[in-house]
Amino acid sequence: MSLLEEIFTEPEPAPVHPVLELREAARTFPGPPEVHALRPTNLRVERGDYVSIVGPSGSGKSTLLHLLGLLDRPTSGEYLIDGIPTVAASENERAALRGESIGFVFQAFHLLDRRTVLDNVLLATLYSGVPRAERRERALAALDRVGLSHRVDFHPGVLSGGERQRVAVARAVVADPRVLLADEPTGNLDSVSSAAVLELFDELHAEGLTLVVITHDMAVADRARRRVRITDGQLVEL
């Protein structure tokens, strides 16, 4: 390649990394007997994806969730978030990455019952580096986004299950994460509330949010654009 060519060649665009990428990542639990909770797995979640991971209990769903959520490290392989390798990162770096990049929604909501709805949402801004001056504003916006502006000063204990899960969603998105990681988000909800939460997911996805939903409920999984089944620690695209 001549110098001239080199100058006039269009500069290669910065490589677009997948939001989440598992490279031959595996997780075993030392035995005896040694348990292969997740066999060496490759998984790419691109920006704007809506992926559901389905599988029966004991299939390795939780292990996969913990790995994706940086709550656990693979025993082999590599896991990258937005191109950043995480396996060798220090605990503090992983905590920072977790706070900035991942929004969690749990089956059990995990709201602090003694704090107000607003406080619960603000909690996620504390550790994720959201500018101090914007925190309150963004929390209120997030609550508005999930339709709970009228519940700001309530305590979670007086809310319905569906409302609580929507608070949890607001908390998950307030810090503008790279991906929303939901673990059985409708597991504790009735069908009406479930529908509302799934509707909310659809809307968030439409706005560009990347979602990974782990569930055993096919009805929930079917809402996703892309489905992955996990059985005995192995992933299969559906």
Partner: protein, 418 residues
């Protein structure tokens, strides 16, 4: 891969937007404030511990101040000189107090009042208010009889209840007058002296010119019939003086101790025994030290119990809030931030307990002092220090629970459904 660079453009997080001291304090405060009932129970131990510490030290200081003041008032200014006796108080006296002891003592620097006293033996003579001998009267204990110089009453801080004490003139002229101690007067039925009552010692009448009460030394004076020294010598042949008492200026003790024996009898200064006040500060320190040691031990035990209480409740709180800890970790909190939060909660609880305890302690000391009419003495640094000690207790008590909280794995924490 090395040196990972974020592919997606994200503004570098400014230090002030990270989880800082302000957030830490707010979270710790919220953690404490959401359970006021429990907070009350938790700080109770520390409150009691700090309170008892402040009370004990405060009362010790107050009591010591009280003791010291009594030393200052009486002990530090009283001097007694008496002839030394050969052997163990049985043999003959090694020196004789001269009759003019009062004048000799008054010449010394630092002596404010001085007086001499002698015991008077009246033999079989009966002491009564009336001269009639009533054979049917019940035999009563006779009041003792003493003789003093004119300045003696002042030297022992006695008070004249009614009438007057005799003066140098009475002593010199050997007037037949007496002063009665309060109890002796009551026994003899003499209550007032304005009608010039007399008492009889044997057959001789003596005019009662005064009644005294409240002496700081020689309490036996209150049971005595007191004669002027000259009268006692003339009527009863008193041969020797027993003691010289003196009231001295504060701090004159060592000087008086050195000069008094020489002044009384330059030939046999070694024959006198001088009781001067001990250096007052030494006494005070010793008393204070003893009292403080006991009280401090009690306070320390109370504090230990308070600290264990905080540790216990904080640990319980950590176990209870495992879900919250897991959630915070999932939201990006580091172990250090979790540990710091619980440690700070513990410190704040301890500090709160310390403040309340110190306040209650000061109040208790003041109330007790008022009731006993003492002057409350509570040193400010001690009170402030005690309040902070509560914080230190909280800090120590919080270490283990904080470490425990920091090591909680988010996975395990989140699995236990809240």
């Amino acid at each position: 891969m090395s040196a990972p660079a974020p592919a997606r453009e994200r503004a570098e997080v400014h230090a002030r937007d990270r989880f800082g001291v302000r957030d830490l304090v707010a979270e710790a405060a919220a953690g404490i404030g959401t359970r006021p009932g429990r907070l009350l129970l938790t700080i109770l131990g520390t409150v009691l511990g700090i309170c008892s510490l402040v009370v004990t030290i405060g009362m010790a200081q107050t009591a010591a101040g009280q003791i010291a003041r009594q030393f200052d008032a009486v002990a530090a200014t009283q001097v007694v000189v008496q002839p030394r006796q050969q052997g163990w108080g049985e043999g003959p006296a090694l020196a004789t107090i001269p009759w003019d002891a009062e004048e000799r003592m008054m010449r010394l620097n630092g002596i404010e009042h001085a007086g001499a006293i002698a015991d008077v033996s009246v033999g079989d003579a009966e002491i009564s208010a009336v001269s009639v001998r009533d054979p049917s009267a019940v035999a009563t204990v006779q009041p003792i009889v003493m003789a003093t110089t004119a300045g003696f009453l002042e030297a022992v801080r006695g008070q004249v209840v009614t009438g007057r004490y005799f003066d140098a003139g009475h002593v010199e002229r050997a007037d037949r007058v007496v002063v009665l101690g309060a109890r002796a007067a009551a026994r003899l039925g003499v209550h007032r002296v304005d009608r010039q009552p007399s008492i009889f010692i044997g057959e001789r009448p003596y005019a009662v010119i005064g009644i005294i009460d409240k002496v700081a030394r020689r309490g036996d004076l209150l049971d005595a019939v007191i004669l002027p020294l000259g009268t006692a010598r003339a009527d009863f042949g008193v041969g020797t003086l027993a003691q010289v008492h003196a009231r001295i200026a504060v701090g004159a003790g060592p000087l008086v101790a050195e000069q008094a024996p020489v002044a009384l009898d330059p030939r046999t200064p070694d024959g006198f025994e001088v009781q001067v006040p001990p250096t007052s500060s030494l006494v005070r320190e010793r008393v204070q030290g003893d009292v403080n040691a006991i009280f401090l031990a009690l306070g320390a035990v109370a504090l230990l119990v308070g600290g264990l209480g905080i540790a216990n409740v904080t640990l319980l709180s950590v176990m209870e809030r495992i879900g919250e800890i897991g959630l915070r970790r999932a939201l990006g909190a580091t172990r250090r931030q979790i540990g710091a939060q619980f440690l700070l909660e513990s410190v704040v609880i301890g500090l709160l307990g310390g403040l309340i305890g110190a306040a209650l302690g000061v109040a208790a000391v003041v109330v007790v002092s008022v009731l006993r009419e003492w002057t409350p003495i509570v040193s400010t640094p001690m009170v402030i220090g005690s309040a902070f000690l509560g914080g230190v207790i909280g800090l120590l008590a919080g270490v283990y629970p904080a470490l425990k909280a920091a090591t909680i794995e988010p996975i395990a924490a989140l699995r236990s459904s809240a």
